[in-house]
Amino acid sequence: MISPLPIEAPVPPSTAIVARTSRGYWREAGGRLRRNRIGIVSGGVLLFFVVVALAAPLLAALITHTDYRSIDLINTFARPLTPSHILGTDELGRDELTRLLFGAQVSMGIGFLAVVVALTIGACVGLVAGFYGGLIDGLLMRFVDMILATPAIFLFILMSILFKPNTITLSLIIASVGWGSIARLVRGEVLSVRTRDFMVAARAFGASDARLIFRHLLPNVLHVMIVFGSLYLGQVVLIEAALDFLGLGISPPTPSWGNMLTNSETYFFHSSWLVIWPGVTIFLTVLAANLFGNAVRDAFDPRLR
């Protein structure tokens, strides 16, 4: 005969596990991101461009002492390192550095705005489609398929003709195509999260659909959105530059890195710096955005660990 198990043990008097700091998912992901040297450097480059964009008028006043519109027909095609024109001047004698500074406003402004808009729309559509499933899911996702099946450049050109492009409308135009991809990604993630027990449990405790979607589902798919957003930023900068270059984006006299390239292609063999400066700036920004996006993905995507 085996003696009965001592099952009368209501509360384990456990005090062994005490002082241990709680580190949540976000803090751990943040820590991993901080330890990624390439990620930090590329993030720093992006931050640098953001600061430049925000401080463009101030920097113009303090460093270049000129305005991006001020034409100086005596000093056209000044070479770089000319005193008072560090990066040279263009065909109208406008200071190249000043124009790059203000161009950052366009690129960064459109970049971040398009990312935010695309993420917001895409996440809402993805969450709703994935959460409700069935007919709603079918309709929304077929609409996304339609948008993603149409050549993007065609949509951009069409909308640029329909709406007069400025920073806001151009962001919306770019985001109006970009939200499709994030909607798909978020929906896919929702499909796997929504069947987890805690969703049923939350519903069993009386949570409404809105609460389930935004309180319980959204934080669980946020990592997908963060990773997509940071990679998408580079794409947006590139798309915007391409549209400017085609003359479908921001039009002169407002300088943007893209339309500075358009202007200067004529002078490539004559004054190559006019092509090199905006080209290198775009290259650096996109490279930084992509490297930073990769670093963010490595830090946040649990599947890659």
Binding site: M1, I2, L5, I7, E8, A9, P10, V11, P12, P13, S14, T15, I17, V18, R20, S22, G24, Y25, G133, G134, R196, D197, F198, V200, A201, A202, R203, A204, F205, G206, A207, S208, R211, H216, P219, N220
Partner: protein, 330 residues
């Protein structure tokens, strides 16, 4: 006798699959009185969980409640709107689930989650809900509740998570707590602790408890009354002591007989119930248990028995015992 708190009448829940209609719950009726502990036992796939989910109106697609009613304090839950049902869930009837490892949202601190029903139902702000949650965590035996409330679920062991789930269920002091296999995913010593806790809170808060399990030992230790389910129906019900001492349905008898005994000869083989549970899309004619039944008579294969009083305190759906035959000792 006062009116029952919860009265389930002829509940029918079916799943409409491409293979056919699965009659997961097929005409279940029972009552639950305030403060009572009711056990529902049966093999996997006999409709225990679907019964519980039907009461909560949480049947996933392609399932649907196709008939019957669930009267809670006189109100039929089956007819309530989605918004009215949200009010009932968590506030009047709470449910805890089998797998505590996945029942808590991994991105929120435990304290916040335990307090969430209060935020939902009693319009409390996060701070006062958090205070209440910490108090509840202490009540369910979480050491250092103040600090542990700030932990994330992955810092908790399985037993502690189930304690947290129970705390979550208790915050609003619901009238009914449905525990769907609350100990199945836990190891034996933790099981005992969780059952002890459930017994304790049942006494302290006076809430009625429905305990769903396939573990007969759990029922014996916890429940005043037990219902045995088979193929989506109740085949026997009655006071736990009576049902276990003198089962009135061959299925109950077989279940009890299949429990391995510590004092049995170790070389003696286990006694399983022959065969497997029936196909719920196309159940056998007559009594759904008859193909596996050791006591079947001719009538069982074509005539479907109904749940009838057998003996003084029990009910059973069996032609054999309804005719007065006593089953042998299990």
């Amino acid at each position: 006798m006062p009116a029952p708190l919860l009265e389930v009448r002829d509940l029918k829940t079916q799943f409409f699959t491409p293979e056919g209609v699965v009659k997961a719950v097929d005409g279940v009726s029972f009552e639950l009185h305030a403060g009572e502990t009711l056990g529902i036992v049966g093999e996997s796939g006999c409709g225990k969980s679907v019964t519980a989910l039907s009461i909560m109106r949480l049947i996933p697609r392609p399932g649907r409640i196709v008939g019957g009613s669930v009267l809670f304090e006189g109100r039929d839950l089956v007819g309530l709107s989605a918004a009215e049902m949200q009010e009932v869930r968590g506030e009047s009837i709470a449910m805890i689930f089998q797998d505590p490892m996945t029942s808590l949202n991994p991105v929120f601190r435990v304290g916040w989650q335990v307090g969430e029903p209060l935020v939902i139902h009693q319009a409390k702000d996060n701070a006062s809900a958090g205070v209440e949650a910490t108090r509840m965590l202490a009540k369910v035996g979480i050491p250092n509740p103040q600090q542990r409330a700030r932990d994330f679920p992955h810092h908790f062991s399985g037993g502690m998570r189930q304690r947290a789930m129970i705390a979550m269920g208790l915050t609003t002091t619901p009238a009914v707590l449905i525990a769907d296999e609350p100990t199945t995913a836990l190891d034996v010593t933790i099981q005992a602790q969780i059952l002890d806790l459930l017994r304790h809170v049942n006494r302290e808060f006076g809430m009625a408890t429905i305990l769903i399990t396939h573990n007969l030992g759990v029922v014996a230790g916890m429940c005043e009354r037990v219902m045995v389910m088979y193929a989506g129906r109740i085949v026997e019900s009655g006071p736990t002591a009576d049902v276990f001492a003198h089962p009135k349905h061959p299925y109950t008898w077989s279940l009890l007989r299949s429990i391995p005994r510590l004092d049995a000869d170790r070389r003696e083989p286990l006694k399983p119930i022959e065969g497997s549970p029936p196909d719920l899309i196309d159940p056998p004619a007559g009594c759904s248990f008859h193909p596996r039944c050791a006591f079947r008579v001719d009538r069982c294969s074509h005539d479907d028995p109904r749940l009838q009083p057998v003996g003084d305190t029990q009910q059973a759906a069996c032609w054999v015992t309804q005719a007065g035959t006593e089953l042998p000792r299990a």
